[in-house]
């Protein structure tokens, strides 16, 4: 527990994760080094306890791995552990900005900012490689598509193209048809109609209300009590 001698081992694992998940040979069904939030968080804490051992390039890789797990709260959890001064320096500052943009669904700006990491002077070669990798782009794209599918039943095609950073409707159709997971989310890409129809699910379908003819007193007594209290203030 909190053993500084494990820092080197954990750093090696982070680099192995990045390589396995977003390196040149990424894309297999079972990566050799799967994403491990526990290990990455442990390393971040060790950096917190032993700042002289901290490697900011490794911190950036840890943050990138968490960013690519959007919409999970892994990045949020790590943001409480990475010192403010590190988060304000590049490339962590750009990674933080990317996270904020994803959280606020500003996907168009996100893609522009994300791609800046590839040419960021402070980014390590591993970070640049990972952000440029098709696997990283595919992961973010799929997660954004998932959010679109929960929010919209029918969305304007322009909004979807911008959110997914896809060139045009034809490319979008090819993407959906070529990815089994995307095909489950998207029902139809209507190029002529300029819209994308998402598969019906609970989140994107109007809920039907059940109206009871008779409501018991106990069901409304709490509401009545609140009303009396409020009006009495």
């Amino acid at each position: 527990v909190a053993d500084p001698t494990t820092v080197t081992q954990l750093e090696s694992y982070v680099r192995a994760e990045v390589n396995a998940l977003y390196g040149p040979t990424a894309g297999g069904a079972e990566p050799s080094h799967p994403y491990n939030f526990e290990a990455n968080r442990a390393l971040t804490k060790l950096y917190q306890f032993f700042p002289h051992l901290a490697d900011e390039s490794c911190t950036a890789l840890v943050l990138l791995l968490a960013l690519l797990e959007y919409p999970s709260t892994d990045f949020l959890a790590l943001s409480y552990l990475v010192p403010e001064r590190v988060q304000e320096r590049e490339p962590c500052a750009t990674l933080k900005r990317c996270s904020d943009l994803l959280e606020q669904s500003q996907f168009g700006t996100f893609w522009v900012t994300f791609r800046e990491l590839v040419i960021n002077d402070s980014a390590s070669e591993e970070l640049k490689m990972a952000t440029a990798s098709p696997a990283a782009v595919a992961k973010i794209r799929m997660n954004v598509l998932g959010l679109l599918g929960m929010t919209y039943k029918v969305a304007p095609i322009g909004a979807v193209l911008s959110a997914l950073d896809v060139k045009d409707a034809a490319a979008l159709r090819d993407y959906v048809n070529g990815d089994a997971a995307a095909k489950k989310i998207v029902e139809n890409v209507d190029v002529d109609g300029g819209k994308v129809v998402f598969t019906s699910r609970e989140e994107n379908t109007k809920k039907s209300r059940v109206f009871k003819e008779a409501v018991g007193l106990d069901a409304i007594s709490a509401a009545l009590a609140k009303g009396v209290h409020t009006s009495g203030q």
Binding site: V1, A2, D3, P4, F37, R41, K45, Q48, F49, F50, P51, H52, P71, T73, L76, A77, S79, Y80, L81, P83, E84, R85, D100, E103, Q104, S105, Q106, L147, L148, M150, T151, A155, P156, A159, A163, E203, K206, R209, A222, A225, K226, H229
Partner: protein
């Protein structure tokens, strides 16, 4: 006069604040013959309950009442006799003597503001105690102290030990951070350090191992492991160490959860509670010759009022900062209800920690005010937060919530009031200040302010709340309408129609969160849910 958790609560504005260095480091050589009989009897009886009889009611009377009474009578502003002075009353039992030393050291810390050497002496007390405790159950060679029945300590006693341990660590980190930051600032401005400051930093530099975070965490994890609920471990600790280890293990979980929260690792804070809510763990006997009443781990922790409050408060903070608002509201709502009933029934009056409960209650209500404002349906749902508590939250914080409604800052004020005192646990580079000059400070960069840990948590929290507050108005209209034109909704929310899509996506994203699938705090295995759902 009872074990202190907040030194400031025991100081009056004009009271002298002597350092307790002399008394901590001195080892009164008063012999057994000089001790008053009640003291000798107390030590003998306490040792008997801890090592032989394991009778919970007797130990409770000695620990809670007799100890306080004797302290008031004989040691109002003096330390208790040293372990050496009373050792003959307990058969020179080294483990019991370590336990006794910790108990009396807590009283010592309440007598005045501890100096740096007092704080380091406190570390020696705890490391000696935990080494003695763990040596009885770790390793292959079984050891058994005089008495033969292993160690029995009440759950409340175990909680007090571990709570004070984390409290002193917290205090040490704050002391160290502030001392270093002040010295670094002075050096950066070209000023000379005072003798007192230099001496403090020298002592800290020479005692880096004292209160080292890896050792503090290590002890807590080892105690949790020693008290773990696997049949093999239970058999080992029951036959070798005694029933105290189950209690120590559970209270170490509560202490670890608190410590991880103070360090900003909210995920680990929740995971630390796993042993307490493990449904497969065997029940724990209450103590005594025939074992006593059997209780679950959760029941044991809940039976100790300050443990229950500490657990819920830190779990609630962790849930809030990890954006698990429903779990946060459920946890804080439950403890709020419990505390409200406790105050009304007078149940808390008999607790030695009752003076702290009021402030803890205020913090819980402030956190619920934040949650209720971010997700109004949480306070409106009696299944999550009881009506009485919800009403009190609205009454207490209506002014601040109105400020937030009108666009003013308000969340930060509430959070700053309610949040724990976060700490930085890293050891600074003392040589930079002791040897370096102003130029070195400038070169080194990154001079700590003493508030870095705290500022980081508050900054992240307010950043999250900035987004949540933009969604609040949208949420209310989504509740009001079954269907509405996008342009109309955009107008209500003061945004352009073309920006509405982005706002809706953010709303969908932010209103989905992990939620516990069981009714217990700390469950990291959770499903995604929408707290905005009715």
């Amino acid at each position: 006069p009872f074990p202190a958790y907040r030194l400031d609560l025991y100081r009056t504005p004009n009271s002298p604040q002597p350092t307790i260095n002399a008394t901590m480091s001195a080892d009164p050589s008063s012999s057994d013959a000089c001790l008053p009989s009640p003291i000798k009897d107390f030590v003998f009886d306490l040792h008997d309950t801890a090592r032989r009889s394991h009778l919970a009611p007797e130990q409770s009377a000695l620990y809670a009442a007799t100890y306080a009474a004797l302290t008031r009578k004989y040691f109002e502003s003096n330390p208790w006799p040293s372990a050496k002075a009373i050792s003959s009353e307990c058969g020179d039992d080294p483990l019991f003597l370590a336990v006794y030393t910790e108990l009396t050291a807590r009283h010592l810390h309440s007598l005045g503001r501890p100096s740096v050497t007092d704080r380091i002496a406190g570390w020696c007390v705890y490391s000696k105690l935990f080494d003695a405790l763990l040596s009885e159950v770790e390793g292959d060679v079984p050891t058994r102290a005089p008495g033969g029945n292993g160690l029995f300590l009440l759950p409340t006693w175990c909680f007090d030990v571990l709570h004070e341990f984390v409290y002193q660590f917290q205090g040490f980190c704050q002391f160290r951070t502030n001392a270093y930051a002040a010295a670094a600032r002075a050096k950066g401005e070209g000023k000379t350090l005072g003798d007192g400051v230099t001496e403090t930093l020298q002592v800290l530099s020479e005692n880096r191992e004292a209160w080292a975070v890896e050792k503090v965490l290590g002890y807590l994890h080892r105690l949790i492991a020693a008290g773990a609920s696997t049949p093999a471990t239970i058999a080992t600790t029951a036959t070798r160490g005694g029933p105290a280890y189950r209690h120590l293990g559970l209270m170490a979980s509560v202490a670890l959860s608190r410590l991880e929260c103070l360090l900003g690792d909210y995920t680990s804070s929740l995971l630390a509670l796993g042993p307490i809510f493990d449904p497969t763990a065997p029940k724990i006997p209450g103590g005594g010759a025939e074992g006593g009443e059997m209780r679950t781990a959760e029941e044991v922790v809940q039976s100790v009022i300050p443990a229950r409050i500490s657990l819920s408060y830190h779990a609630g903070v962790s849930y809030l900062l990890l954006r698990r608002y429903r779990d946060a509201a459920a946890t804080l709502g439950a403890i709020g209800t419990y505390m409200q009933r406790g105050f009304k029934s007078g149940m808390f009056r008999s607790s030695p920690h009752s003076d702290q409960f009021g402030r803890q209650y205020d913090r819980v209500l402030a956190l619920l005010a934040i949650l209720g404002h971010v997700c109004p349906n949480l306070l409106a749902d009696a299944g999550v937060v009881e009506d009485g508590v919800a009403r009190l939250v609205r009454e207490r914080h209506s002014g601040q919530l109105t400020k937030i409604e009108s666009g003013e800052e308000g969340y930060e004020e509430l959070f700053v009031f309610a949040c724990p005192k976060f700490i930085s646990a890293n050891v600074p580079d003392y040589n930079r200040v002791l040897i370096g000059d102003a130029a070195t400070q400038a070169e080194g960069g990154d001079v700590p302010t003493g508030q870095d840990a705290y500022r980081l948590q508050v900054r992240n929290f307010t950043s999250e709340m900035d987004v949540q507050s933009t969604l609040r108005k949208l949420r209310s209209y989504m509740k009001l309408y079954t269907s509405i034109d996008v342009a109309k909704l955009a107008a209500f929310n003061d945004v352009k129609a073309e920006e509405m899509g982005q706002l809706l996506l953010t709303y969908r994203h932010k209103t989905r969160q992990l939620q516990s699938t069981t009714a217990t705090a700390g469950d990291a295995d959770a499903a995604e849910a929408d707290p905005a759902a009715p």
